[in-house]
Symmetry: C2
Subunit: 768 residues, 2 copies
């Protein structure tokens, strides 16, 4: 490697355009002849549609097209990671049974957004209303209204992970302490800054989709399958995505309807999510109930951990369906040893918006369940919570380590992370009548999605590779392309750093091209699962190093010296110690592209294309601590201090990493204290949604350790999600520490003032 | 190979859009905010510009920008294949010395084409006129006006090829027959159906050039160098090129000025060639004078061939400059044995439009010189011209054969080609008072440009490779991309045929992507030199075969059988003899792109990228015969019959080949009989140009032989230019045969009625 961009907090190149208002967002796009779509959505939660009248809307001024259920019959999108025995493997774009408020009913396309919206009011739908099933615990009740009567149940999938329940129970039988608690996770929205938006056009037999998406190729493949188009006849462009957090990893039914409108009308069709629709139209997540049981012996040794994971799938299994709950189960053990770990995972349908993926993907829930159980066990046993954790933690000498849930941890020093955290915490002191507590939480995190033993054991096929292409043009400029996309995470900058170092050129000589299925390598998965840098950057690390080797080989041939004696300095390849014997990179690159004066057998050109397929996940880890003050009069929680230690392997850009960790903690705090899409008993969602602001998020003290991944070329691990995993649990443990008399009732998120205020104040269960 | 598309005359897929009026030509493009350019050109041939006034034009209604010489100072384009010692290696976009009528003086950019044109009339230029130098024989006169006074001559480059003149003269010394004739080739225009056109835009630091071009990467590289942009910041798109014939192989100064206007204004700028400007603005070709000497012994054995090649470079050496004349010299010997062959090559500047490349690239001139000399020798010796040719022809057992001019012929059966032709000719008979004659001509043709020994010996570095990328998408559709472009020659269809056969899929499953520097592999050369199919198709032959191998390997792994026992039938890989054991291509492709269930060590995905660099040219050959009737009263020549036999190796699409041969013969007839850009003594070109129509072109009887190239994967040779090479000479020999008494004066093209009519009618030189 020539330079040392990797590890340096170079400014994000994306910011030059983003901060200057030159972001290339889909919502700002205007194409000639463009028309605008408005999605008509169901106002009721559960009903049979008995009549549709689209004729008035079709006749309205400026209306170009109206798509109803009959126009989209048989158009269905697939569930990509169904659970074992899952009852539905796809879902329709439009359906004549309504199962949630906000379900698309029709799409109106008109010359202006206002005309489309006005005409939407002319769409009339007659409903035969059905009783809703709200709340997943209610939905699994045998008497609950059924969403799919022919199933005979609302449970779509039901399977076990790790040790069977019986084995866990047997191990717990003689345990000194058994903590058995039920946790409820509020339905949270990923809520990216940029709403979902799409412009679709169809010309020359090609469907072009400009979308705010995390996974252009995934969108391409699904759109092609949906409309029976050849894959190469669908082009997806994602030039800027203003946050995704899992919410933009697939093609939504409303987006697919916009594509259909483009095909039908032959005109570019633009749509972006209405603010009012956002909470019902973009998949929420987390919604789950865990009954968790932790068994511990008298010495404070963890004996068994079991969870009954019940996930609220919403109206149907959507793109990723049960997968987050499966990850909750397989990631349940965290950084600790247990004799037995198991979980039952069920996904049930409810008359609510289908649920999906959100930063952390089931891991924040797993951490909450495990870390709350540990704190409660510590409280009951009278052991310091940090001490109890350290006593049970997998040591660095035990790695690699395979959990009872088939996770094969690769590297890290979990105790060191926690000790480093403990040493950095400074408890705030103020005498204002509020109750104060500090909570800790630790996690191991799946990143850099490769083939997952855990998912495979369950029967969910997952994983995939990334390809990086690095090319030195004849003028020695370097172009990198990759299948992952920029979603605000700075991948464009990070990939440029890797390429510049490994090729040996200046950072400014590297351009990174992302987000266009016609010009970038295939990525079946996209920028999700904290994998973009680890997997795509891993591929690029190899590709860039290969390119450097080729450059030195050509220069060695032309200069008649051993390539090992050459170095690249200032865009020139020169002989070490004899710098006057040199060729400029441009001379070498031009010769390479002309095919002139190359070593025998050398392929002309300077292009390296490398696919890197991880052998498995690479596991990051972290420990978080929150200090809270709880107002006993109102139940209001203030996070007064926040500390975290994170180890995501080699850091390419520490400034970006710190920013990602802080943003993720803010989301974790939001989930802990405010964020929830609630439903009334008749299935109406709340219309407002409280996101944390700078008032609710304190300074976050970030410490990073760097244990290289032995699995990733370059040693990187993922970091995009890490900050969310322990943060909600740390706040929960801090609240429990502040309110020890009701600690065992600190089980649900969000811990809103009202939720805390209404908890019974007396101690409910004696410590065992 | 699975199918048999190669060798089959499948319909051209391009025609579906071209015949339906859906061709995607640049001239039809309209972009938002687009403005229009008009190029102000010099009305005088030679002058110093003493004053410029652009102010009135700049102030005119609707004018956005006016670019004068001071706005483009130091902007120069390179000569890509300069001759040895060539005096100029580049040329300016705008110059304050005018050296030809039509030289760009300024560019006016306005909101409409009419506004730009009107404002152009307001540009005033003061000239200090200088004497023109018209006609290359005049220009090399020591007294001729000098275009570049500091050169001390108008000769830009002067070098020898093959055997030295003295050796040739010595060999000829004792020859029984020495034919010494001087041939003049009219200045012809490639005159593609679609005029040159460009739309340039500059946004997000990227210059996008949509152009009608044969070589997008070449245009990209030169535009980037010109404006100091990184190569990856220039994108050239060429979606449809309505004929090129060599005239669209590079970036012209006027086109570069349109790019400059786009950079200056930030708006898309459109320009297309004015009909009136076409003959002065697009490089013409052929313009040359050959003094040729053929020496033959008493047995009719060719002893020596020498030519003094004097090329009219026009006002400056342009993109390819002297290279066509160098090819005339190195290809002089054709399919015959000579003890000695040599040539002197000079390029001189004249006050006329610079000359360039045109289908045949010097070879039609070489064929005319050689074949006219042979016919004249036959006439003088009283030997049948076909018999004389066969006597001296290189036999198939002599191949590979290296000429005295360093051409290393690879394969073919030249005598068989000529005998086949002779057997197919049927002399027309009509008694209408016209004189009738049949002429034959034979050639060997350089195709599939690889490194050329001949050019290298002269010091002109040439040759290059092509890369083909073939990808099977997860849905089993196949996408091919290549750096060559479609210019009406059907390459899109031919590449699809190769890919379909070698992968083993249906033709309709293959899409071919060409003509966009951001999505296609690099091609430093482009679609010129009859190389697109031989070189790019050679690369694709290998890439597609590799892809098939990979598919069978994966299928073998999954089906647990030896890949050798598998076949691909109907998009399914199945076990030979046990067709029920099978995987669909889609299943295999999806697994490959997911990285699931692949053989150990297998790269995920299904993409093959192969660069093929020819070891040398591959040589096609042909023989042509024309039957003419000459009206002695008017000098009018009618081509009454035409026959050709061509061997271009393996034919991918015989229908396309036949079409290309016929079109090229039409151009050869045009050059023989009508086409010439003439200049008045004061340097004014003629304003009209006679192209042959269906009235002037008879039915052309095409016979093809197929001697595979041993050099090209797939055995193909080029065919795009072949029809031009011998056709002009065949018509010339036919006219000479019709007018034997003045046969030795049939030396110049075009043989217009006036030119023939004014020839002295008496025999001028007795046969030796």
């Amino acid at each position: 490697m020539g330079n040392a961009y990797v590890g340096s907090p170079v400014p994000r190149r994306e910011d030059a355009r983003l901060l200057a208002g030159r972001g290339r967002f889909v919502g700002g796009l205007r194409l000639p002849d463009m028309v605008h779509a408005y999605v008509v959505r169901s106002p009721v939660a559960h009903a049979r549609v008995t009549g549709y009248d689209l004729s008035a809307a079709r006749a309205a001024d400026g209306v170009v097209d109206v798509i109803g259920v009959r126009d989209a019959s048989d158009l269905r999108l697939p569930c990509v990671s169904p659970g074992p025995g899952q009852r539905e493997l796809s879902y329709p774009l439009l359906d004549d049974v309504v199962r949630y408020v906000g379900q698309p009913l029709a799409v109106v396309v008109a010359g202006t957004p206002a005309a489309a919206r006005d005409a939407a009011d002319l769409v009339t739908v007659d409903y035969d209303e059905l009783p809703p099933a709200i709340g997943v615990e209610h939905a699994v009740d045998p008497d609950a209204p059924r969403l799919y009567p022919d199933w005979g149940t609302n449970v779509a999938t039901d399977f076990e992970v790790g040790d069977p329940r019986g084995d866990c129970a047997a191990a717990a039988h003689d345990a000194a302490h058994v903590v058995d608690m039920t946790f409820r996770f509020g339905r949270a929205s990923p809520y990216p800054l940029e709403p979902r938006a799409i412009v679709a056009s169809y010309a020359e037999e090609t469907l072009t989709i400009r979308a705010s998406t995390q996974a252009p190729h995934h969108v391409r493949d699904h759109a092609a399958d949906l409309f029976g188009l050849r894959y190469d006849r669908v082009r997806v462009i994602s030039r800027e995505t203003g946050g995704g957090f899992g919410a933009k990893e697939h093609l939504y039914p409303d987006e697919a309807l916009v594509c259909l409108a483009a095909i039908r009308t032959g005109r570019p069709v633009r749509w972006s999510e209405e603010p009012a629709d956002r909470l019902v139209a973009t998949l929420p997540a987390r919604a789950a109930v865990h009954r968790g049981i932790l068994a511990m012996d008298a010495d404070g040794r963890f004996v068994a951990l079991y969870a009954d994971v019940l996930a609220d799938l919403g109206a149907h299994p959507a793109n990723c369906g049960i997968a987050p709950a499966a990850v909750s189960a397989t990631m349940l053990p965290g950084p600790y040893r247990f004799d037995r770990v198991g979980a039952r995972v069920r996904g049930a349908v409810t008359t609510s918006t289908p649920t999906g993926s959100y930063r952390g993907f089931g891991q924040p829930e797993a951490a909450w369940t495990r870390e709350r159980l540990i704190d409660e066990a510590a409280r009951r046993a009278g052991i310091d919570p940090v001490e109890l954790r350290l006593r049970n933690m997998i040591g660095p000498d035990e790695l690699p380590y395979t959990t009872r849930t088939w996770q094969d941890y690769d590297s890290g020093d979990y105790p060191r992370v926690l000790r480093t955290l403990r040493d950095s915490v400074v408890a705030p002191h103020r005498d204002d009548g509020r109750r104060r507590g500090i909570g800790f939480a630790c996690h191991v995190e799946t990143t850099g999605m490769g083939p997952s033993m855990g998912m495979k054991a369950i029967g969910i096929q997952a994983g995939g590779f990334e390809t990086a292409v690095v090319q030195m043009e004849p003028d020695a400029s370097v172009v990198v392309s990759a299948g992952v996309v920029g979603i605000g995470q700075g991948i464009e900058t990070a990939l440029a750093q890797i390429a510049a170092d490994h090729v040996g050129v200046a950072l400014d000589d590297v351009r990174v091209v992302l987000g266009d299925t016609t010009t970038t390598p295939y990525s079946s998965i996209g920028s999700i699962a904290s994998r973009a840098l680890a997997v795509s950057g891993g591929a690029l690390t190899r590709a860039a190093a290969q390119l450097r080797t080729r450059i030195l080989e050509i220069a060695g041939h032309q200069l008649e010296v051993d390539p090992a004696d050459l170095e690249i300095v200032d865009s020139t390849v020169r002989v070490k110690g004899t710098p006057q014997v040199a060729r400029t990179l441009r001379e070498i690159a031009t010769a390479a592209w002309r095919g002139w004066d190359l070593p025998d057998g050398s392929t002309p050109g300077l292009l390296e294309r490398v696919s890197y397929e991880p052998v498995a996940y690479t596991y990051a880890c972290g420990a978080h601590a929150a200090a809270v003050a709880v107002d006993p009069a109102t139940g209001a929680v203030e996070v007064e201090g926040y500390w975290l230690v994170n180890d995501s392997g080699v850091l390419v850009n520490p400034a970006i990493v710190a920013g990602q960790l802080r943003g993720a903690v803010a989301q974790g705090i939001g989930m802990a204290l405010f964020e929830e899409i609630g439903y009334t008993p008749d299935g109406q969602p709340n219309a407002s949604y409280d996101l944390p602001t700078t008032r609710e998020v304190p300074d976050i003290n970030v410490t990073t350790l760097e244990t290289p991944s032995p699995r990733t070329p370059g040693g990187m691990k993922g970091v995009g999600e890490g900050g969310t995993v322990s943060s909600t649990a740390a706040v929960g443990n801090a609240v429990a520490a502040a309110l020890p008399e009701i600690a065992d009732r600190i089980t649900d998120t969000p811990m809103t003032p009202y939720a805390l205020w209404r908890l019974p104040r007396h101690a409910s269960s004696p410590g065992q």
